[in-house]
Amino acid sequence: MSAPPKDPAQAHVQLTGVTKRYGGVTALDNVDFSCELGSVHAVLGENGAGKSTLIKIMSGVVQPDEGEIRLDGRLASFSHPAAANAQGIVCIFQELSLLPDLSVADNISISDPPRRFGLIDAKAQRRRAEELLARIGCEDLNPMSRVRDLPLSRRQMVEIAKALAKNPNVLILDEATSALTAADVDTVFEILRRLRDDGISILTISHRMHEIEAIADKCSVFRNGKHIETFQQGARSEGEIVQMMIGREITAHFPPKPPPPDSAEPMLELKKYSWEDRLKSIDLTVGAGEIVGLGGLDGQGQKELLLGLFGVLKGTSGQVIVQGNEVDINSPQDAKKAGVDLALIPEDRKTEGLMLPMSIADNLTIASLKRLSRGIFVDADAMTAAIEDGIQRMQIKVGSSADAVSTLSGGNQQKVVIAKWLMTEPKIVLLNDPTRGIDVGTKQEIYRLLRSLAETGASIVYYSTDYEELIGCCDRVAVMYDGEIVRELQGDEINERNIIASALKMDEAAQ
């Protein structure tokens, strides 16, 4: 499967036959992988290809189920991140690991502060922070400021300084540049090149092809948890790389799509919709009876778009037009109101979708209490009927509706979340990756349900990290990159090659 390194003696970190499973999902499948000192190695792959699991194993966050890791030829195992750090493997994670209430200097030296008479030497710590910040071109940052008060891009630079403070010989960057400004990226790359020339091994995950071209010596492509190929940077064209990233077996069956209507009246229109630096002037129209998919790599603003529409984000700008009327949605309560009729199936059903200790019946009706009440009292008969109806409609397998919702399987829990929102009779349904972690059978029921909802005239905005679903389910796919919609795909254009090429923003190569 994998190309063995040309000179195994040079391999600094070597993984052999590494497998990692999460429940029924195999995240890494018998992977051989190595990286050498003095080179920058880029790892490529679509969502769920196994890149994140790979670096989590290398940095001690998770342990492999099978296989071995060798460091300089010696067998190694890292039970936690500090153990990997002690061996010189340092990872800069996507989710920041900084402590918001501590100062920049405190954070940089958190793992091993300079000490004097057993106590932390604030002056030495500050000097160290100043040196490291100067090294990454952030002399303007005051080491005394609290991390909480810094903008995201500065925090990311502090994170890099913190990693450098550990004197790594393997530095792993998990999309560490995604929050940086262009000038910072240049500085970081300059440091990375210098570190490489000093003989450090650098492993980077990035979704920006031009950055990979600029920095990487070697590239490895992953797909479905497998290591597909490792090659010298430049040895493969972008088209070939895309080809390596796609080519998955189609496992699910999707209901047939209707022919595109001649003129669907717009149900939801967005004009110049923006929020902070995460959503940049989004224009999007969703017609009645249409399923519009949001594509792109994880974290390009898709979730923020759905949350913003549902009234969770403060300070959004631009116009939101629902059924011809401009609306102002400031809370989920606003989003539910008549005339707006929005529903959001959230990303994490355990924290945002369900009240786990409460009963199935309570969870089903919690969003529709107003509808099911007479005056200030809940109408028991209407309630019972609605619960029956919800369970029937979604074919939820329940013993008794009085059981705690936590007793259900993941798939059935997700059905409860969907049934809860369908009970509000929404006209626009937003779905935030609703099929994550549920079984194939339930997934297909959800696909059929979405299509039948669309046939009754509802509009659906569907974010999925799974390209197969976007291709199978959606009438149109808007691909997002860095807070913008970079391409809208329609009809036959909706295929894996186009979605991945747009997601990596390399359209011209894929044509």
């Binding site: 966050v61 936690h80 991140p81 500090a82 750090n85 994670f93 920041l96 690991s97 900084l98 402590l99 918001p100 209430d101 501590l102 405190d106 958190i110 793992s111 502060p113 000490r115 057993g118 106590l119 932390i120 604030a122 005051n142 005394m144 400021s145 609290r146 929020w275 902070e276 949350l307 969770v312 984000l313 403060k314 300070g315 809370s331 945002e352």
Partner: protein, 346 residues
Amino acid sequence: MNDLRVRLSQNAALLTAIVVFILFYVFYNMNHPRGFSVAVLIQNSNEVFTLAMVAMAQTVPVLMGGLDLSVGAIMTLVNTIASHLLNGSPMQIAFGMVVSLAAGAACGFVNGCIVVYGRIQPIIATLATGAIFLGLALFLRPSPGGNVDDDLSWAATNDLYEIAATYGFAQNGEAGWFQPISWIPVPLLLLVLVAVLVWLPFARSVTGRTVYAVGSGEGAAYMSGLSIDRAKIAAFTLGGFFAGIGGLYLTLQTSSGNADIPQAGAYTLNSIAAVVIGGTSLLGGVGTAIGSIFGALILRTISFNFRIFEIDPLMQPLFEGTVLLAAVSLGAFRVLRVKNTLELFR
């Protein structure tokens, strides 16, 4: 200059507490018939010391993101223990003091172990252990009383001159070099010593830093390879130690031991109020025990003022509650800056 501004803005809550205290206290002295005198200062220091200790005790778990409902109970238990031991020969008295302080620290250690190894939320764990500690205190002192060395009691609650006079050093306090400091009230000196010799080194130790880190973000602290369990146990143990100092002092001040349950509850609640007024975030990660000392000073100064103006003491809870609410509200402004309202619930 830039540094100074950063420091000021980061310590705004502490500075506010200090300024408020100074205003209240100067106002009090201006209206006191014997205001700005050493006698008044000694009396006030005595009234403040125990609460200041209990407030410091509360601060450490709060910084870690927990709440310790047993601080008042630990203080009371140590009070009853000390009321049995603070007598006899100097050696016996010293032994009694060490045992009392060790008992306080041991109570905190037990709290920490239950929280860490039992995986029980601090507020519930300490609610239970607090009741146990009070039970032990009642067992030791079913009714108020005790035998406390009179000399020690007198010396510890007055100024330095009385210590020297009682124990016969510095020519019984008459030595020329001793005069500039002979007026300093003992409790005030003890307060400064505890803050400087115990709290400041702790805050600068790796364990202390870890306590702040855990309160700020436990996940990130873990990922940074910090020893979280040890820091939690240390936080509760230090809290118990501070509460023990408070209990020991209370014994000297009252010359007796009293398993007073309402008093223990009042001290616990006042300690939380003092922590908040002193600028420590109840969410953890931000604040300092120095702030809590000033929180305790503010609470006590409020009651001094009530005394001087002969206001109905029944009004006092109302006023203290208002000050507490104002202090908490200042901390709530951060909510206005959150752009993703979902984050408010995480």
